[in-house]
Symmetry: C2
Subunit: 428 residues, 2 copies
């Protein structure tokens, strides 16, 4: 008995997946029963790193998702359409689906999982978040015995590469971005990465699994790294922090609602996420009674992502092998309710702020008064020097309600001594 796989797309990840499946020796024995039955491509005549029989390669992707012989459809074309339609067609034709497509799952997960449950098939997405790191399966299975309180991740390798390089070399964002584009670590249009949209897709998926509810992508607050300056990276370092783009899903203190957000964050140097550098990803899961566990690994790349894709194929094949027709409760995705979003103004966090002020005596006192008026208590205030006749004052607060902090900023902006607020960042 062989499980027939139809793969849509033969780009980097598709090629890695086919190479892995065609070379099963020394891996889980069940992989020998998985057959690369069809591979759908755009350009069949393109030279490729993997050689496949002519009968396997086709340009007719719809034929693959409808082929009665196909057991598992592996969607690796990316983007929203035709990926979404092909996935839905595969499901409606009774195929199990494996996808690496975070964008389509974050936007159309409801539609896709509703269809999958109706059809009695699995939709698996280990490769959609964290590349080769096994994090989706632990969240659905092992870790689900916990009451999860927070998922905090460095889930975008491009921005982590940029922030790491900015710190290591004291370079500006624009300079490092240009270099990352040359090296292929950043796209020509870097928007999805540097503005945090890719990380938002991923935290929406992780939050949905960790907290057992559907997530509306627009509920994820999203702020990218374009405004992170080398000055802030330096001040952060002196204060004992590194700046990371974190994707966070966290139960609010006083209710069941979820704070969902992506933003550059000052992370204490002793925190496990602080030492995740370069293109690596890491996901920290906190829960009761577990405490903290962290998963670390390559967030992208053909081999790592292929490992995740094939692990999903393997999981489906193993379940099919048991011959049951009843769905496996830990592989299905059955939640129907939406998670409630906690408003950003109710977020309780520390803040880092950098002010440019007139070099007058008493400015720190005035700042302190505005903060105090709004109930914002300060952990440290440092006047770092004078630039262009302006004094630079860096403030780190204790935990405050974001709404209260914003109210204090409104008062501060009205102070004649304040020239500008050069940066505002949250602190983990």
């Amino acid at each position: 008995m062989a499980f027939k796989v139809g793969i849509l797309g033969l780009g980097t990840v598709g090629t890695g997946t086919v190479q892995l499946l065609l070379d099963p020796t020394g891996r889980q024995a069940l992989l020998k029963e998985v057959e690369v039955y069809k591979v759908g491509v755009k350009s069949p005549d393109k030279t490729r790193a993997v050689s496949l029989p002519t009968a396997v390669v086709t340009t007719d992707l719809e034929a693959i998702v409808k082929d009665p012989a196909v057991d598992i459809v592996v969607e690796l074309i990316g983007g929203l359409e035709p990926a979404r339609s092909l996935i839905l067609q595969a499901i409606n034709n009774g195929k199990h689906v494996v996808t690496a497509n975070k964008a389509v799952i974050a936007r159309f997960g409801d539609e896709i999982f509703t269809a999958a449950n109706a059809a009695g098939v699995y939709v698996m997405l280990e490769a959609a978040v964290g590349g080769g790191i096994p994090v989706i399966q632990p969240l659905k299975q092992s870790l689900s015995v916990n009451r999860i309180t927070a998922v905090t991740g460095i889930v975008n390798g491009t921005t982590n590469y940029i922030l790491t390089a900015m710190r290591d070399r004291g370079s500006d964002f624009a300079e490092v971005l240009a270099e990352a584009q040359q090296l292929g670590y950043a796209e020509a249009d870097p928007t999805a990465d540097v503005d945090g949209l890719d990380a938002a897709d991923k935290i929406a998926i992780l939050a949905s699994l960790a907290f057992g509810g559907r997530i509306k992508l627009q509920d994820v607050y999203c702020e990218g790294i374009r405004n992170v300056s080398k000055a802030d990276i330096n001040y952060a370092e002196k204060l004992g922090f590194v700046i990371k783009l974190l994707a966070i899903a966290k139960k609010a203190h006083s209710s069941n609602s979820l704070s969902l957000r992506v933003h550059p964050t000052l992370v204490p140097q002793s925190h496990p996420l602080a030492s995740i550098n370069g293109v690596y990803n890491a996901i920290l899961v906190e829960g009761e009674p577990l405490g903290q566990v962290m998963f670390f690994g390559p967030g992208a790349g053909a081999g790592a992502t292929a490992s995740a894709v094939v692990s999903d194929i393997l999981a489906i094949a193993a379940t099919l092998k048991t011959g049951t027709t009843k769905p496996h409760p830990l592989m299905s995705c059955s939640h129907q309710e939406y998670c409630e979003k906690a408003p950003m103004e109710d977020l309780v966090t520390r803040f880092y702020a950098r002010f440019l002020t007139q070099d007058h005596p008493g400015v720190i006192g005035k700042l302190g008064t505005c903060f105090g008026n709004c109930g914002v208590s300060l952990e440290s205030v440092v006047q770092t020097g004078i630039h262009d006749n302006l004094a630079e004052i860096v403030v780190v607060t204790h935990d405050v309600r974001e709404g209260d902090f914003n109210a204090s900023l409104a008062e501060i902006r009205a102070l004649p001594a304040i020239s500008s607020i050069a940066s505002l960042l949250r602190v983990l």
Copy 2:
């Protein structure tokens, strides 16, 4: 339909497990179908943190493993006997087994898994290694699509606590051990931890799963941390390393045999394992095509271990829920062959050595000649100072065959100028 669990032992982990199972709200919904049916204890009248109906608690552990109503036996009494016999009886009575007992699995895994396969039941052991860290299931499932090349872990919290404290405070081993015993981080008899035996049990289990073969515990080379001195920790730090007790299972360069070993190791400060401090555990898995992934978390504690135990109960319940009688290929443990052990003298690694020598000119030259005679090339040689009229010389080698390094040491010991070899450590 409820799944009836019989728990053997109500110590720290047993209590954590019962507390979790009795409080399923907000966790995976399937846990509501798991019933704490029997709990076997030694002293039924002891005051406990968890209150159970009288009918649930019994001192007759054999009755639990034979009870036809019990679906899953959870062995949390630890030690070799009666744990081994009770597990085997449970299996022979058709019960699935969950255990946190690394000692019994490392020693009697062959017997236990042979019996389990014959009886068509699962034996699950997530809690046996790495406390709450989900690492056993990923090795058996997701990561098994890779050809694993190495598993490297900090898997003993007590020794990691001791080494971390020695470094942070510049203290001696004996001093920190005494304090760890007072704090409850080390046992009154610390042998199993500080001599590396507990870590050896755990790497035998991890290696068996990662490399798909049985492991003889006596094949694991084992060296503890009693001889790690604060002097070596200091020198290591100056050379860019931290000293960790690593448990390593690694494919040999040129053959299919496995190097299996536990020993204190100089780890480069930039390595992901270098920043795992205190009682935390971490396991780094390397494979093709994945690259590296690391799992990090609490290596012990009631809550963390209970999370792992209950995740195994959940996995069994989920599979039973599908109504199949065929074994799930990724939950069974089917390998029968033994892994071949690579001899330690064929290990290729870097070494750190500290020599006490007469303070004569030319000693470094003589040392260098002995190393050169045996093909050992040096990365650094530092004369660190004079103590008690003896010069102290610290050497770090490039990668060498351990047999060749030992041959060079035999020559060096014969040099009149050499007073003693104060320490010898491997370098990652």
